[in-house]
């Protein structure tokens, strides 16, 4: 075969391979476009439009949604004054989500450790117990939690029955209720990655640490926690992010009085009929999460380099 025809054959093969590759990648690309890029694109576009009178949007550019997030327009003279209402909802949400993450970590770590140190054949049973709540709808579970913590609920009946308190504790429709609900809802997301990390932990290292004069607390802090760090980070991310945007829990257990970001956004698409502002708030939330993750990734990368 001549050199020229060889080159030609190669080019044909390469083109055919490229086409096959594109064809095989198509389902993945379509999926990503459909479930990620497209909705996000719509949200971005909507956030820069003008709200319609009966919901929806009118196709008229406006950055009002982002201005509204920080400033309030005086209805008489149209001047802008700083408004911290939305900021404070964001801060409250971040605080609640952080608290719930910490709570889930404190509850989840001993739980995961307990499961990871069980004999191998018993671990699946305990993991099953942990994931059991997922078999029921979140709404129903949240109502169940509502029944447990309300004034005439299980917790108060028991505490009063034992004589610890003589008036029911008002937990429902407070931040505490939302906090408890968030921990309850997202605890499995903490336990599972923690378990995955602890299960891989070489317990001979724990023995070595005891042998080298570490007491329980020192061994936990210096050996177990550092080695379980990937699981701790994954668990915290998996609890914090959905916790930040939680909707059902604050709606039901917080009584809708104490707003979290999720509820505020929902209101914009419902009674407030301000879709652009709802879109803008959703994007600001997302931006915050992405920034937080980037900061973490950078810190983790720096640490890995320092070790390497």
């Amino acid at each position: 075969m001549s050199e020229e025809s060889l080159l030609h054959a190669r080019a044909v093969t390469a083109r055919r391979e490229r086409r096959t590759r594109q064809f095989l990648l198509a389902p993945a690309i379509v999926t990503i476009l459909a479930i990620s890029v497209l909705p996000l694109g719509i949200t971005v576009i909507y956030s820069f439009l003008t709200p319609g009178t009966y919901g929806g949007v009118t196709w008229e550019f406006s950055a009002d949604a982002y201005v509204q997030f920080l400033f309030e327009e005086d209805i008489f003279d149209g001047t802008l004054a700083f408004n911290d209402a939305y900021i404070s909802i964001f801060l409250r949400s971040i605080g609640l989500a952080l608290g719930a993450t910490l709570g889930a970590l404190l509850l989840g770590f001993p739980t995961a450790y307990f499961i990871a140190t069980k004999p191998r054949d018993q671990r699946n049973f305990w993991l099953f117990v942990i994931t059991l709540p997922f078999w029921t709808n979140l709404l129903i579970r949240t109502y169940a939690m509502l029944l447990i913590i309300r004034d005439e609920g299980f917790v108060n009946i028991v505490l009063m029955g034992v004589g610890l308190i003589d008036r029911p504790l008002s937990i429902l429709y407070t931040d505490t209720a939302v906090f408890i609900g968030l921990i309850y809802t997202y605890l499995p997301f903490m336990v599972l990655p923690l378990y995955a990390s602890l299960e891989k932990l070489d317990f001979r290292l724990v023995e070595a640490a005891y042998d080298l004069y570490g007491n329980r607390w020192q061994v936990l802090r210096n050996v177990i926690v550092p080695l379980a760090k990937p699981g701790i980070v994954a668990g915290c991310i998996l609890v914090f992010i959905p916790g930040l945007g939680a909707y059902i829990t604050p709606e039901l257990l917080g009584g809708g009085k104490k707003l979290m970001i999720g509820n505020m956004i929902a209101i914009q698409f419902g009674s407030s009929r301000n879709w652009p502002f709802g879109s803008a708030a959703a994007l600001i939330l997302m931006a915050l999460v992405v920034i937080a993750l980037l900061i973490y990734a950078r810190a983790a990368g720096r640490e890995a380099r320092a070790h390497g």
Partner: protein, 339 residues
């Protein structure tokens, strides 16, 4: 099922003491009891006269070199070595000084800031050793620490360990299933089988004067002949083998057995009968295995038992071809009656 049964040993200060036995004999369990990882169902562990049986591992002045090394993967070599001292709350200055001394001791100074997964097996071994020695324990436990190393490295480490023990003056309790390792390194050896200690003694005692058939068999090569015990006087007794051959053998101290006994003879303790010498036993040469420095002659005795002679040098007037009739001389104090 007991992992350990009626184990009673005294280990002396500054001693290199080895627990030797096949896997599953309980030597590692014994080590874990001394370290504090396991509680004995009954019995006590005394350290310098003090009962430490119930103390947790972190309160015993005993450190372990683990078979798997168990180095902390999230710490550098220096951090690993300093771990014990950090846990004890020693001041930073003292830790640094001690760590650099340990690094020097195991010749790992250039590796101080490496992570442990960047080290070779031999280097990890040294770090594990330095880490266990850094807090200056009263006793150092070593759980088959050389098992994962290749032969040449293992030989080097054997010598290094021995000199390290002499240098630090710390009591070493070493666990191994490798009899050669035990013989080269130890001051004393305890041979274990199924949870029991069969014999405790210096390597020479264990090798030259095994008291149990198992000990004799486990350590080095040995010929074991069965026979009937006859007249005894002092520590000597006459043993008649199954084919009627009689030989003289040493009996264990204070021994009063009778009837059927086993007699052990090391291959190098027997020699060929030459020039019309009176042979103690006779057999047919079945096989000759040449090693270079010596040969092993495999004889088939009249009793049907096999007998191996280690032989070196010339053999005037003897033809060492398979089928030849060969006589062997066994000096009386080289044959031993086993318990």
């Amino acid at each position: 099922m007991r992992a350990l049964d009626d184990v009673d040993i005294d280990i002396r200060e500054n001693e290199f003491f080895t627990l030797l036995g096949p896997s599953g004999c309980g030597k590692t369990t014994l080590l874990r009891i001394i370290a504090g990882f396991e509680l004995p169902t009954s019995g006590t562990v005394l350290l310098g006269g003090k009962d430490i049986t119930a103390l947790p591992p972190n309160e015993r002045p005993v450190n372990t070199v683990f078979q798997s090394y168990a180095l902390f993967p999230h710490m550098t070599v220096a951090q690993n070595i300093g771990f014990g001292l950090r846990m004890l709350g020693e001041p930073a200055g003292k830790i640094d000084e001690r760590v650099s001394r340990m690094l020097r001791l195991v010749q790992m100074e250039p590796m101080a800031d490496r992570r442990t997964d960047q080290l070779s097996g031999g280097q990890q071994q040294r770090v594990a050793l330095a880490r266990a020695l850094a807090p200056a324990p009263k006793v150092l436990l070593l759980d088959e620490p050389l098992a994962a190393l290749d032969l040449k490295l293992r030989k080097n480490m054997q010598i290094e360990l021995k000199s390290l023990q002499a240098e630090t003056g710390i009591t070493f309790i070493f666990v191994t299933h490798d009899q050669e390792e035990a013989l080269t390194m130890s001051d004393r050896i305890a041979v274990m089988r199924s949870g029991q200690i069969l014999q405790v003694g210096s390597p020479r005692e264990i090798y030259d004067a095994p008291t149990h058939r198992f000990v004799a068999d486990f350590i080095g090569e040995i010929n074991i002949l069965s026979g009937q015990i006859g007249a005894a006087s002092g520590d000597r007794a006459k043993v008649t083998l199954k084919d009627g051959t009689a030989l003289e053998a040493r009996t264990p101290e204070g021994w009063t057995g009778s009837g059927e006994v086993a007699v052990a003879v090391r291959p190098e303790a027997a020699r060929l009968a030459v020039g019309g010498e009176a042979a103690t036993i006779e057999g047919t040469l079945e096989n000759l295995v040449y090693f270079g420095a010596a040969s092993h002659l495999h004889l088939r005795l009249g009793t049907g038992e096999e007998f191996v002679i280690r032989h070196s040098g010339a053999t005037p007037g003897l033809s060492l071809t398979p089928g030849a009739r060969i006589g062997a001389v066994i000096p009386p104090d080289q044959a031993r009656v086993l318990e």
